[in-house]
Amino acid sequence: MYKFSNKLKIGSFILMALGILGIAIGFISAPSTVEEAKAIVASHGDGHGDAHGAADAHEVAASGHGEAVESHGEAHDSSHDEHLLHQLQNKPWAALYVAAFFFFMIALGVLAFYAIQRAAQAGWSPLLFRVMEGITAYLVPGGVIVFVILLLSVLHMNHLFVWMDADVVAHDKLLQGKAGYLNPTFFLIRAAIFLAGWIFYREYSRKLSLRQDESDDNSNFKLNFRWSAGFLVFYLVSESIMSWDWIMSVDPHWFSTLFGWYVFASMFVSGITVIAMVTVYLKSRGYLPDVNNSHIHDLAKFMFGISIFWTYLWFSQFMLIWYSNIPEEVTYYVTRIADYRLPFFGMIVMNFLFPVLLLMNSDFKRMNWFVILTGIVILAGHYMDIFNMIMPSTVGDQWFIGIPEIGAVLFFAGLFIFWIFRALTTAPLQPKRNPFIEESRHFHY
């Protein structure tokens, strides 16, 4: 049985406390009037001015004030200031949402990886099942928090999703056309169904997994296999729709057909990275005696492979849009390259070049500290990925990685660590009666 070390527990509490402080500072310092917003921008220098031209068409379109702005010069100023106010008010919310989604997505990615191992009846991984089950335990708190943020958006506590604003929809023909799908009620219903499905599978599969340890036949294992195969079908559809709903719809005029896959690659590689990191940590504390460096090697191969897969999808999306140059599509990249140059290109270096060069060598994949080091960069890179998905449409060029963003990351990191390691204490770390446990113990590359 794993015992939650006091150091780690205290560390996670400190992270959460610092995080709450950062989040609170973010909300308190958000402007409540147009004047305050202008003062904030003025004190930050002219960062806003230079990239404005390129971003304007997109931002204006996204907030639905298109026609009004172009025709009246004076209306432009006041509506622009109001727009700025909304962006700055969105900032702490967006920071919270990005971090909340990022850590939730890790648990969801691990759940998909776990279900694939189950459905494939993989022989190498059963030793790691308890680690994966521990991480997926975070689906419950993580999912509830994301749902609450979405609910608060529907209740107009923030303006993350412009299409939720009835006034915006009334002036926007495209959004009216999408209203049958993109309306607050249906949005919440979908979110609830998806979360319920994912959490149900996680809890049920965990139950079967524990029951298999006490059983004298393989019926639980077989049942788990069937549920996992079925879950993967549900997951593929629901994950895709989730990515349209929770991420793509922050910019409701823009769409990309492979967005679901792209988000999936991000969550998958982050999830596998966290499995590797938690495994290495537990091993360094003397747990998981049968996990050998071939298991780490395999996880690192997945980190390497899925990083390339992510890049492939990122580039497929980018190149087609870049090449065809259709205004309604290309605004997505125009804004990002104009206003988000560093995070946008920095993310590709972190998520592609770094893991490719560091994990290419077979021997490096077996060195724990190498896996951890690369893992930290990959996780930071995929946080930036989510940041780049959400921020341009919610805060525009007012982005900054400051106290609210870092605070939100710290808070959710603390909660994540606390929750998954607490879940790991509830069952033996090594499954006893998994039919493949012997194969997994003797797994060697």
Binding site: F315, M319, W322
Partner: protein, 176 residues
């Protein structure tokens, strides 16, 4: 110079692996093992030096990437610039996304093909080459372990029989 060698036959890869480990533990030098298919971990058990083919593959990949870059720069930018979809080809870097698929494909192409050719040459395999394996059964369902004899025929024979060899032959070997 002719020398004597012992040929031990096995009919199972797991038995072979254990046998190789035992022969190595008894400090005998295994000349060669002939297999009908690759046996995972055999190279490590035999104590062969790690392969360097991955390094050559990386170098070939870099060459492929360079060839693609130079080639596309010459074809699309220098020799015959065109305006495709409103993107005039005046600068390589500005048109780079369009060339990425070619850069990727040629990297893979060079790495894969040159690596295979390197492997064949290093293994001394080429068209019309006379097969080196001493027994045709090693291309079907038998594994063969070859050990040079240095006046320890009896000892080796007992050890090999004990490891589960299904057949043992002593052969005159011509050094090639």
């Amino acid at each position: 110079m002719a020398s004597k060698a012992i040929h031990a036959y096995y009919d199972d890869d797991d038995v072979l692996m254990l046998a190789v480990k035992r022969v190595k533990a008894a400090k005998h030098h295994i000349e060669e093992v002939y297999c009908p298919f690759p046996v995972h971990g055999l190279d490590k058990a035999m104590g062969l030096a790690p392969t360097r083919i991955a390094i050559t593959s990386f170098i070939y990949g870099c060459i492929g990437l360079t060839v693609a870059t130079v080639m596309m720069n010459y074809i699309m930018i220098e020799d015959w610039p065109q305006d495709i979809g409103g993107k005039p080809s005046f600068s390589y870097i500005e048109n780079m996304p369009a060339f990425v698929p070619i850069m990727f494909e040629l990297t893979v192409f060079f790495a894969a093909h040159l690596m295979v050719i390197t492997f064949y040459m290093r293994s001394r395999l080429w068209p019309f080459k006379e097969a080196e394996n001493p027994d045709v059964r090693t291309t079907d369902d038998h594994f063969l372990m070859e050990i040079d004899i240095h006046g320890n025929e009896k000892e080796l024979k007992d050890l090999l029989l004990d490891t589960g060899a299904v057949e043992i032959n002593i052969v005159e070997k011509n050094s090639h």
